[in-house]
């Protein structure tokens, strides 16, 4: 016999209340932990994607949009800019590297990115099969794209217009797969890479077509594509445009002046990925705060349930407590039994809740395919989870304080006499 056995015996005695309180606490703990796991993983992924990109430059418009389109490949870009402006920026002494990107088409929802081989090097990706692109209309697939599409080296595919699925096909200018990249865990896994000239060629062809026949989509209204606007007017000698470019500074000092210079003196707009993602986080941070608040409410409710159960049980149990004092139990032993009982319940709810949260995070891809990459967060123990541990156990202890105090003050002789 010991205090733990005794606490278990009492918990077993009220199975319904016990299970209810444990479940309530577990749900609260799971909710708050899931929010922590997913938002931390998201934050880390966002930071990881932006590693090595000091600045994104593109058309004037929303800087957040520019970062979303250029770093996370999650939004449409604001528009196109002349390649010359980007090349001009590359000559700036504060700039170490500029990687231009031409966006506009996709294949089965995966974006086709016209760029330079430096893009692949930037993400530290290596070829798993085949070779890099060297001629127009050659494409290299990110590992996720290759797996999802089943395309192998040597096969061909047609890009579709626009960044989402369901755009018109560019059937007359197919791409040929020349290489497949090894997985990196970064956004490049979900991209189709090709030379910038390929993107130009696809659209030049299209535009030439469009002059003869009715186009199935309106080019003038689509700003999300690197298309040679001059080609529309003349049918030849296109002005060479790109969508945006990833910039790396030569020294951190560039951060102080370069963005301002770019914004003030060129047709380009500069956006800082860390700054824009921080801004983004404050926006949907409100959402996670609401969920956290709800989870705190659940934990508070379970603490209150625990308190009610203990306070009620104490009315029935004061004879037990009195006889325990007769049998030699100190006041502190009585308090320890009550405290341990609710801490055991809280700990059970805590462990179940943490397990549930990590399990749900691991399986999140099954019910939220878009969030599948966040499943990696399930394997990580976030330091904030210690806060959840303290919160749950603290709730258990606080719920016991009043009943424990009453038990401490119990008048043994009077209780035995009344019974």
């Amino acid at each position: 016999m010991n205090v733990v056995r005794l606490a278990f015996a009492y918990a077993r005695r009220r199975p319904l209340a016990t299970v209810f309180n444990i479940a309530l606490l577990a749900v609260g703990v799971a909710t708050i932990t899931l929010v922590i796991l997913l938002s931390r993983e998201l934050e880390q992924r966002l930071a990881r994607e932006a590693t090595g990109i000091d600045l994104v430059v593109g058309a004037k418009g929303s800087p957040l949009q520019l970062v979303l389109a250029g770093v996370y490949h999650a939004d449409v870009p604001p528009g196109n800019v002349p390649l010359a402006a980007v090349e001009e920026l590359a000559r700036n002494p504060l700039v170490q590297q500029v990687i231009p990107l031409a966006l506009g088409d996709s294949y089965r929802g995966f974006r086709i990115v016209g760029t330079e081989p430096a893009f692949v090097a930037h993400y530290g990706a290596s070829l798993a099969q085949g070779s890099g692109w060297s001629r127009p209309m050659e494409a290299v697939l990110g590992s996720d794209v290759a797996r999802a599409s089943g395309l192998a080296v040597g096969t061909t595919f047609a890009g579709s217009h626009g960044l989402a699925e369901g755009g018109g096909d560019h059937g007359e200018t197919p791409y040929r797969v020349v290489g497949i990249l090894a997985p990196t865990g970064r956004v490049i896994d979900r991209l189709v890479l090709t030379g910038i000239d390929s993107v130009w060629r696809v659209h030049a062809h299209e535009d030439a077509d469009a002059e003869h026949a009715d186009a199935d989509h309106d080019h003038a209204a689509t700003s999300d594509r690197a298309q040679p606007s001059a080609a529309r007017a003349t049918g030849h000698a296109p002005v060479r445009e790109v969508t945006l470019a990833l910039v790396r500074y030569k020294s951190p000092l560039a951060a102080a002046s370069l963005p301002r210079t770019i914004n003030a003196e060129t047709v380009l707009q500069a956006a800082s990925p860390p700054y824009e993602s921080a801004r983004l986080f404050t926006v949907f941070g409100v959402g996670t705060e609401v969920v956290r608040g709800f989870a705190l409410l659940l934990i508070g409710a379970s603490a209150f349930g625990l308190f009610v159960a203990l306070a009620q049980a104490l009315d029935e149990r004061r004879y037990d407590l009195a006889i325990m004092r007769v049998l030699g139990a100190r006041r502190s032993t009585i308090v320890a039994v009550l405290l341990l009982e609710s801490v055991l319940l809280a700990a059970t709810g805590l462990v179940l809740g943490l397990g549930l949260a990590h399990g749900l995070a691991a399986g999140i891809g099954a019910w939220l395919p878009a969030a599948a990459p966040l499943a990696a967060g399930a394997r990580v123990w976030q330091p904030e989870e210690w806060g959840v541990v303290a919160l749950a156990l603290g709730a258990g202890i606080i719920a016991t304080l009043l009943p424990a105090w009453r038990a401490y003050r119990l008048d043994v002789a009077a209780t035995l006499a009344e019974g």
Binding site: D320, M324, R325, L327, G328, R330, L416, A417, G419
Partner: protein, 222 residues
């Protein structure tokens, strides 16, 4: 074995108990007699160190209870006194065996399953070790409560109205068991009872007068 000297106990202004002197030698079996409300239970609680009298000296087994405070008194009680309360108060969350082991644990006595088994057999409930208190008859529960009171071989066993709800045969049996267990464990026995059937079953008696305050009120009423 114990001595109560110049005891007076009050609740507020009312004196509920007054004893000039009561001494018992080791191993003696006593009846604590007196009508309802005369303070028998209070006196048992004083002997058990659960209640401290307003005035007077209580010495049990050579220890002056006035010198024992807090957890030292709890520890002393667990090892020195065995109490069979009128309502028995077995712990409902535990089975019979664990009720006895709880008494060992709380008194700080090492867990001794063999002792538990032997004792349950000795009081005639050896086959009920896995039962819970709600599954026991009144007589069986009382046997378990008696076993619990002597599990730690206390020097003093106190029983409060042990025959209250029993018929004649069972009343005699309960007294027999209490006396046998007191002897087996070398304990002094005090049985508080207003039951006339108990008087002939115990060799010594200490009678409490009716409650002083009650007597005074009756006096006024008369």
């Amino acid at each position: 074995m114990f001595a109560l000297i110049g005891i007076e106990h009050r609740y507020g202004a009312a004196t509920v108990l007054r004893i000039d002197e009561w001494r018992a030698a080791e191993g003696e079996h006593w009846l604590l007699a007196g009508p309802s409300g005369s303070g028998k239970t209070t006196l048992l609680h004083i002997l058990a160190g659960l209640t401290t009298p307003t005035i007077g000296t209580v010495v049990v087994g050579g220890t002056d209870l006035g010198t024992l405070k807090g957890s030292a008194r709890d520890r002393w009680r667990g090892r020195t006194v065995g109490l069979v309360p009128q309502r028995l108060h077995l712990v409902g969350a535990l089975d019979v065996r664990d009720n006895l082991r709880l008494a060992q644990f709380l008194a700080g006595v090492p867990d001794d399953p063999e002792r538990v088994r032997e004792l349950l057999a000795a009081v005639g409930v050896g086959d009920l070790a896995n039962r819970y208190p709600r599954e026991l008859s009144q007589g069986q529960a009382q046997r378990v409560a008696i076993a619990r009171s002597v599990i730690n071989r206390p020097a003093l066993v106190l029983a409060d109205e042990p025959t209250a709800n029993l018929d004649d045969a069972h009343a005699a049996g309960a007294l027999e068991l209490l006396r046998a267990q007191a002897i087996a464990n070398g304990a002094t026995l005090v049985v508080a009872s207003h039951d006339a059937r108990v008087r002939p079953l115990l060799p010594r008696a200490f009678a409490l007068p009716p409650r002083p305050a009650v007597a005074a009120r009756d006096g006024i009423a008369a």
